[in-house]
């Protein structure tokens, strides 16, 4: 890392200017996909399967076709003719675009109706007649592996079971040896349940085919417009130069808008065939029931330790429920994502994990919900195990962590499952958190409360994340290297435009990326317009998810700005008639060393680049582009401490205090970083306390709307106490690591650990999320703590 120079320019890194994108959002002038209204636009609605598993005998659309305004009904058979009935998933599987042979989950797409108005399209769904033969349903992934289980993916040739993959990492033998020598083995059998990112804007598309030019423009709720363009080109056989994806303002993504969904494909095909724009926007119910869910990891973890609390080894066995199609979104070579970050912040001797993916009759996925590829599940497992070890050994949970942390001098640290951590100072973050929460006092209070029979708990999470994919030698999606890009063009008057391969769903890139330029070039951030999301006007990139924008796109921005700074230096040297090396650069001005009166501003240099008086060997103009391939991943970390009081009568868990100390390296805009942490913590709170998608034995989905799938409102959301720690990444151009996901990765286990800490005097060692009052009350009742 070249340390970010302390710039005094308006908006430089470390300052917190207000967001420029807000000017349109607070006026209601954002432009989301559903806001796109085009002349002659048709509307699409999707008829979905009521069954979780059933053979389709016949589909009759004649009644629907006769209904007012209906233009077309598209079935799977219609798509067969165009080779589009099935599509590849990001995970190398196939997924039915519209079901032809059978349906495999409740809510699966069967028929698309295209009509003149959205009401007419919805009406016509009543006119679709499908004859089904229900089949036995599998909702339990363990049952899916039974020898006599019905085969869900009968479409896959030679498939005789419901197993998708086995993925292993680490050294099984070395781990066995460590376990054999251990005094203590803590075991935890836990489900990280199925949840949903549920961004406030659902998924949708407006496909607009222009017959005259052959150009297909798709307005898409997309976190990765460039990758989606390439995939559309490959799947639909459309020439890539005639495909334009515009991901306009996106109302939250959180991973939900990474995959390609059947609705996108059919709307595009329909526009192509009918020659008119076609809009499809899913309802909330469709969003929750059919698009990318997250987690659903059945985890068995074991932690080996000595009796005085030295942690030795970790073993994990995971059954991963991927639903009816393996539509998870992970880098291609990583079927269980980066789950092997599971040794977390601790220096273990050996570790091994094994993950088996299986098919069930549930919606396909799973996506990385505000998570860098299964890191959330991994962090949960190790942090739950560590707290249970603390209870088992009687060593204080904070002390135990400190004893086992990887030490600052051990970085770069090679983990037993193969990652090389770039930097960290875990104890520092922990100490800041302990101080902020008033730890000693709290433990005293807890002891007093316990003596009185009151139930109070303190839970920890000292997580380490791996983000910023990154590293094309190990990370690609569908063969596309996970690079990202930035193109910077400064106009003669010294104001310019930055075009990004990454895209924003609320992260504030139009502000923060301009700040990076401000920092590097000394041009005020308000003079840089940031463009993103339109594939015709931005350079290629893999998109925004997995906290990768700052580590990759941010790095590209800094580097392209530095290239131009060097050009400006040459121009300044020419104008000042000195050698480039004689110039110092600070906050947008080149000054001749030792002659402060001789200087040129960056704006003067830029203007010079467009004038006739340039050295012959220098190209005119002031623009450049950088494609950045990260040399390493980044490893944000932090310590979170949660304090809860539990009502013995009702089981209600009240979060009294939550301290979050994050280390995400250099912070571009501290206000935005804090905002990201608030949001992520609240999502983690939802995960821990209330969010759940479950199924009955017939595969009926519970949690398919906002009455059943509860996300936090302002009433129950806790207040957050934030602390800060900064350990810059040594390999990122300005030391940033990425922050979007740390709070969702780091927080759920802090809530659960707090509740288990409160209840462990009653012999409780685990409660699976979500920790609803009812569930906690039942645990209390069974433990004889509460009255009936």
């Amino acid at each position: 890392m070249t340390a970010a120079t302390e710039s005094t320019v308006n908006g430089a890194i470390g300052q917190s200017p207000k967001r420029v994108e807000d000017d349109r959002f607070i006026r209601g002038m954002g432009n989301y996909v559903d806001d796109v209204q085009l002349p002659g636009m048709l509307h699409m609605a999707i008829y979905r399967s009521p069954f979780a598993h059933a053979t389709i005998n016949s589909i009759d659309t004649s009644r629907a076709l006769a209904m007012p305004g209906v233009v077309a009904c598209i079935t799977g058979q219609d798509l067969v003719a165009h080779g589009l009935a099935w599509m590849p998933t990001l995970a190398g599987d196939t997924q039915a675009v519209l079901a032809t042979d059978k349906v495999r989950f409740q809510g699966q797409e069967v028929v698309c109706v295209i009509a003149k108005t959205s009401y007419q399209a919805e009406d016509a769904l009543e006119g679709i007649d499908v004859d089904y033969d229900p089949l036995p349903v599998i909702v339990d992934p363990k049952r899916a592996l039974d020898a006599d289980a019905p085969i869900i993916r009968s479409d896959l040739e030679g498939k005789t079971d419901n197993h998708i993959f086995t993925w292993e990492s680490g050294d099984a033998e070395a781990t066995d040896r460590v376990f054999a020598e251990a005094d203590i083995v803590i075991k935890l059998d836990t489900l990280y349940p199925r949840i949903h990112p549920a961004p406030m804007e659902t998924c949708g598309a407006v496909a607009d085919y222009n017959k005259a030019t052959g150009k297909m423009t798709i307005h898409l709720t997309s976190q990765a417009p460039h990758a989606h363009r390439t995939l559309f080109a490959m799947v639909a056989g459309l020439p890539e130069q005639k495909l334009r994806i515009i991901s306009p303002d996106v109302g939250g993504g959180f991973g939900n808008k990474v995959p390609i969904y059947p609705g996108y494909v059919v709307a595009t095909a329909a526009s192509l065939l009918i020659g008119k724009p076609v809009k499809w926007v899913e309802s909330r119910t469709e969003n929750l029931m059919s698009t990318g869910f997250a987690r659903d990891y059945h985890m068995e973890g074991e932690l080996a330790a000595t009796k005085d609390g030295k942690m030795l080894g970790l073993r994990a066995n995971v059954l991963a429920d991927h639903g009816a199609f393996n539509a998870q979104a992970q880098p291609s070579k990583w079927p269980a994502g980066f789950f092997n970050i599971a040794t977390g912040s601790y220096d273990l001797q050996a570790a091994h994990c094994k993950v088996d993916g299986v098919y069930t009759n549930k919606a396909p996925g799973g996506i990385a919900y505000r998570c860098s590829f299964r890191v959330t599940e991994a962090a949960y497992l190790i942090e739950r195990l560590v707290d249970n070890l603390a209870h088992e050994t009687g060593i204080d949970a904070a002390e135990l962590r400190k004893q086992n942390f990887i030490q600052p001098e051990q970085f770069p640290y090679k983990s037993p499952m193969g990652w090389e951590y770039d930097s960290g100072d875990y104890e520092k973050a922990m100490n800041i958190a302990l101080e902020l929460v008033g730890y000693e006092e709290l433990r005293k209070e807890q002891a007093e409360k316990r003596a009185k029979g009151e139930v109070m708990g303190i839970g920890f999470s000292s997580f380490t994340e791996i983000v910023g994919a990154g590293m094309s030698k190990i990370c690609d999606i569908a063969g596309l290297a996970m690079i990202d890009s930035a193109e910077l063009r400064i106009h003669p008057t010294g104001k310019g435009v930055l075009k990004l391969g990454v895209q924003s769903q609320g992260q504030g890139h139009e502000t923060t990326f301009a700040q990076i330029v401000a920092n590097e070039l000394g041009i005020p951030y308000t003079d840089i317009a940031v463009e993103h999301g339109d594939t015709d006007h931005t350079p290629y990139g893999l998109g925004t998810y997995a906290s990768r924008s700052t580590p990759t796109g941010g790095a590209a921005t800094a580097i392209v700005a530095r290239k131009l700074r060097e050009k400006a230096r040459q121009i300044a040297a020419h104008l000042l008639e000195c050698a480039p090396d004689d110039l110092e650069f600070d906050s947008g001005t080149f000054t001749v060393k030792g002659s402060p009166e001789k200087s040129k501003t960056i704006q003067e240099c830029v203007f010079g680049a467009y004038q006739s008086d340039l050295p012959d060997d220098m190209e005119k103009g002031f623009e450049d582009v950088t494609y950045y391939d990260a040399p390493e991943m980044t490893y944000p970390f932090g310590t979170y401490i949660c304090v809860v009081d539990i009502d013995k009568g009702t089981g209600q868990v009240k979060v009294r205090k939550f301290v979050a100390v994050d280390d995400c390296g250099t912070r571009i805009n501290p206000m935005i970083v804090d905002g990201q942490i608030h949001g992520g913590l609240t999502q983690g709170f939802g995960t821990a306390m209330m969010e759940l998608i479950s199924f009955d034995e017939d595969g009926n989905c519970f949690g398919g709307n906002f009455m059943d799938y509860l996300i936090p409102t302002a009433v129950e959301s806790p207040d957050w106490t934030l602390g800060e720690c900064t350990t810059p990444s040594p390999h990122h151009p300005f030391g940033a690591k990425g922050v979007g996901e740390s709070p969702t990765v780091g927080s759920p286990q802090a809530f659960v650990n707090a509740v288990v800490d409160a209840l462990h005097p009653y012999g409780i060692t685990n409660i699976d999320m979500p920790l609803s009052s009812h569930k906690v009350w039942k645990v209390l009742r069974d433990a004889g703590v509460t009255d009936e």
């Binding site: 207000k18 967001r19 994108e21 807000d22 349109r24 959002f25 607070i26 006026r27 209601g28 002038m29 954002g30 432009n31 989301y32 559903d34 806001d35 209204q37 007012p68 959205s118 009401y119 009406d123 990112p197 549920a198 961004p199 406030m200 804007e201 659902t202 303002d249 996106v250 109302g251 939250g252 959180f254 309802s283 909330r284 119910t285 769903q505 609320g506 992260q507 504030g508 206000m671 935005i672 804090d674 905002g675 990201q676 608030h678 949001g679 992520g680 913590l681 609240t682 999502q683 709307n705 906002f706 009455m707 996300i711 936090p712 409102t713 302002a714 009433v715 959301s717 207040d719 957050w720």
Partner: protein, 161 residues
Amino acid sequence: MSDKMIVKATVNGEECEALVEPRTLLVHMIRESLHLTGTHIGCDTTSCGACTVLLDGKPVKSCTILAVQANGREIATVEGLETAAGLSVVQEGFKEEHGLHCGYCTPGMMMTVTALLEENPDPTEDEIRKAISGNLCRCTGYVNIIKAVQYAAGKKEGAAA
């Protein structure tokens, strides 16, 4: 479907007319007939409040009201918050306090808050949390939305004094 009806309403101070089916939801009339797309849709169970507008000054979820019910009444949407005098204090508060990320919930949230401050110019934190509990935000965790409301309340008071 049955014959269309004319709805006449005052929208952000201007007389407006729209020809709609009797079953048309108010939110669809606002977005599709009047092209005021600042009012959003986030659910199908009256849970999220992304569609909140003011009907005769009271916040309503426009996805749960028929357009025809608004006939002859006054509708205020996010597009009407800014006046010739500039941004409303609520809009200003959301920007100043970083009360939004993706902006999808923001228009509905700001309408609810606008109505709250009309009724209760100096709400406590608890009152604010209750007032906005019908407006879901998936991005912010509400902390800065509450600060935005407090900012707006403070500004309003300053202006009144």
